[in-house]
């Protein structure tokens, strides 16, 4: 008992690993890239709708600076409110390799390997055991969470989440040994990760603040001696990042969105979503496995606290609707990847009998791998938006429309269209997927047209919409079937282009009656 107590706060700072660790690291990195690459590699066009990040990267390389607004998108009049980190990485890859951004999207797959290696290293850092490290790396490689994110091209979140384990490792190092070099390393790592995306910056920021508050309660002076220098050095190194983040939160009215908005109500997590994205086994992992992890005497206490705080914050966002926190709840689910893997490790440690432990692990991992592969393929097919026929439609529109013709377009096409078409776009994003409030009015107008709401004709006249482009078959946002019914039955719409994937309507907005409302 006393031996166990003595090791409670002893960190696993050694990195003298057995040779099999290297073999395991290489294996899990390759597997992660294979499994996560499903949506990207082997397709003519990668799946997913959210390619605004890539447009941003192209702008960086073209203009040499951060773009202020997205030309053509939402008529080119809204701010381009996002952090530059994720697009910057694509710009770095493109700039170094001299390959255009849109031809080097498979770069994202490397982050799958980085993620698996990071989780393996984090578990080694906490427990110093090869078996659980390889298990953590393997589970991360096969986890459906990042694979799902890949399919809808949530690349910034994929990148940020792949770096979270490294943030935890360097933070724990600094907490145990607050030297100047560890301070610099931690500050630089956290600044770099914060820069990737505002949502992951929020997660990391809240986790760090909560961790420091808990540590303050336990050891006030020691915590202040570590937290204050970290905050100061972080602020100096990352001042431009902090300024951009602040401007983004003010511009996006983050506090208003988090506390007073009801636009995310449709994204509440259901068991169906939980079982698809996290799988049902995640619940025993998170409850039983995490309890086992917390009870393990060899894991440093601050490591336990950091993991638990991160997990609790994720749960607080996932179920925020229960106490009035407004957030895209479904997206919060994806942040449970680290607790999921740590919980699985705790579950594994619970099994005393070698045979049972081996069989349980084998069956769980094999089934997870099979499920992820199938789920990844299904989701990638679902989100396969760009096709040669879509490109053909964009080419037709380029040749047959004037430079100032306004094109109305739904969500799935929204970020792809500007790659092929230099025209002002009015984009029909639903409120739950809008991060930038300056887009809300324009997006609501576009959605009104696509859903056939009562102000549809007013919007068409006011915005002088000349063409509407929709997908020929579902899915899309707003619902494609409804959009097609509405547009087909409208007297001033005429189909001018159609193929198996895309339909283009021409709008005679001048022929619409005047707006009766003042």
């Amino acid at each position: 008992m006393s031996a166990n107590r003595a090791t409670v706060t002893e960190p696993q700072t050694h990195w003298n690993v057995p040779p099999l660790f290297w073999v395991g690291a290489l294996a899990v990195m390759v597997l992660a890239m294979l499994w996560h690459g499903i949506p990207v590699i082997g397709r003519d066009y990668p799946s997913g709708p959210d390619y605004g990040q890539m447009r941003y990267a192209v702008s960086i390389l073209q203009d040499g600076t951060r773009p202020i607004n997205n030309p053509y998108f939402q008529l080119g009049i809204t701010d381009w409110g996002q952090l530059a980190g994720a697009p910057l990485l694509f710009a770095i890859n493109s700039g170094l390799s001299d390959v255009p951004v849109f031809e080097s999207l498979d770069f994202i797959v490397i982050f799958a390997g980085i993620h698996a290696l990071g989780m393996m290293a984090l578990v080694w850092r906490l427990l110093g055991r090869l078996d659980v490290s390889v298990l953590a790396g393997t589970l991360t490689a096969f986890s459906p969470l990042p694979i799902d994110m890949m399919t809808w091209s949530a690349y910034p979140n994929v990148i940020a989440l792949s770096l979270f384990p490294y943030c935890m490792i360097v933070l724990l190092d600094y907490w145990h040994k607050p030297t100047r070099s560890n301070l610099f390393l931690t500050a630089l790592t956290i600044c770099g990760t914060v820069y990737i995306h505002h949502v992951s910056a929020l997660w990391l920021g809240v986790t760090l603040i909560a961790f420091v508050l808990v540590e303050l309660f336990i050891a006030p002076r020691a915590t202040l001696r570590k937290a204050v220098p970290l905050a100061l050095v972080g602020l100096v190194i990352g001042l431009p990042i902090a300024l951009q983040l602040l401007a983004l939160f003010i511009g996006a009215d983050a506090s208003g969105s988090l506390l007073a908005s009801n636009r995310f109500d449709g994204s509440r997590v259901t068991w169906e979503w939980w079982s698809h994205i996290l799988t049902p086994i995640a619940l025993p992992y998170l409850l039983v496995g995490m309890a086992g992890f917390l009870k393990h005497p060899r894991i440093p206490a601050d490591g336990k606290r950091l993991i638990v705080i991160y997990g609790l914050i994720s749960l607080a966002f996932i179920f925020g609707w229960a106490y009035g926190l407004s957030f895209f709840y479904l997206r919060a689910l994806f942040f449970l990847g680290i607790p999921f893997t740590i919980g699985a490790v705790g579950f594994y440690l619970l099994m005393r009998n070698a045979t049972l432990r081996g069989l349980v692990t084998l069956f769980s991992v094999a089934c997870l791998a099979i499920y992820s592969y199938e789920w990844g393929n299904q989701r990638a097919d679902f989100y396969q938006i760009v096709s040669p026929r879509f490109v053909q439609a964009m080419d037709w529109l380029s040749e047959n429309s004037a430079a100032d013709d306004v094109i109305l377009i739904p969500t799935f096409y929204a970020f792809h269209a500007p790659v092929y078409l230099e025209r002002p776009l009015l984009v029909g994003l639903t409120p739950d997927i809008i991060g930038n409030p300056s887009e809300l009015t324009l997006a609501a107008d576009a959605v009104a047209v696509l859903r056939g709401l009562t102000n549809m004709d007013t919007v068409l006249r006011q915005r002088q919409v000349r063409y509407i482009v929709i997908r020929a078959t579902p899915p899309d946002v707003p619902d494609q079937t409804r959009s097609r019914l509405v547009l087909d039955s409208h007297p001033q719409m005429r189909i001018v282009f159609q193929n198996a994937d895309t339909i283009i309507y021409r709008v005679a907005w001048e022929a619409l009656p005047d707006d009766p409302t003042p």
């Binding site: 600076t65 530059a84 070099s181 951009q244 049902p280 086994i281 081996g358 592969y373 393929n377």
Partner: protein, 251 residues
């Protein structure tokens, strides 16, 4: 009079309940999904709940277990690992065949990769002692900096002057320049001089990405142009700082 079951009896019983629930529930659930069985069937309900049923006995097990006492059985592992390889292979091939409806080269590749990883994982789990200790691989700084300079120069030359070599540069060298080079260059200064190679590799990832991010953010802030050439300069800067400080320290 029958003796009262001791703590070990309960641990063994609870472990078996939890294990059999997972061994039965996981494949059932995922095979139902793979073969497109509707989620409102009784089998789905059964498999879903079989996994959730592990929670109460699992929590009881946590309360009873001393988490450090795990048993290992290398003889059993050696006997059974070929079985695991075959089982993994069958799993993998069924999976990819069901998804792709064919047994192409890619299908075989995924199936074999899964089988190999399951066998490797199984072997590691069954054979490794609880406290793994290993060897230290260290890197001599002078060789490290020479290698990094060669990598950076070769990458630039291949991408700028030999466009035909794009594949090698894009998939081989550029990832090294992005994820490792600045971090490896700074690691002899930031980490202990005897830091094992793995530690340097692991820490180089966040260090490199943070380096590029922070320098770019400052360049944006100061109005300095950022383009492909800037990123080579950022990498070169890390190399110069790292090598400069190491030379100064060792003089």
């Amino acid at each position: 009079m029958t003796p009262r079951p001791d703590r070990n009896f309960w641990i063994s019983l609870l472990s078996q309940i939890v294990s059999y629930c997972i061994i039965l529930g996981s494949p059932t659930l995922y095979l139902l999904f793979i073969f497109g069985i509707s989620t409102d069937t009784v089998l789905y309900f059964f498999a879903d709940n079989l996994l959730l049923l592990t929670i109460p006995p699992g929590l009881a097990l946590v309360a009873l277990r001393d988490m450090t006492d795990q048993h290992h059985d290398p003889h059993f592992a050696r006997r059974s690992q070929w079985g695991v390889l075959m089982l993994g292979g069958v799993f993998g091939l069924v999976m990819v065949w069901q998804v792709n409806q064919s047994l192409s080269i890619r299908t075989w590749g995924y199936g074999i990769a899964l089988a190999l990883q399951l066998t490797f994982l199984y072997r590691v789990i069954m054979n490794v002692p609880a406290e793994a200790s290993g060897t230290t691989i260290t890197i001599r700084d002078r060789y490290l900096y020479a290698l990094l300079i060669v990598i950076l120069g070769t990458t630039y030359a291949l991408t700028r002057w030999l466009p035909d070599a794009t594949i090698l540069a894009r998939y081989g060298l550029v990832p090294v320049v992005i994820f490792l080079l600045p971090g490896m260059a700074l690691s002899p200064v930031i980490l202990s001089e005897h830091a094992p190679a793995l530690q340097r590799v692991i820490y180089s990832v966040p260090l490199s990405l943070g380096w590029y991010a922070v320098l770019s953010a400052w360049a944006f802030q100061l109005g300095l142009p950022v383009n492909g050439g800037s990123f080579y300069l950022f990498a070169l800067l890390a190399l110069s700082i790292g090598a400069g400080i190491r030379i100064y320290q060792t003089r």
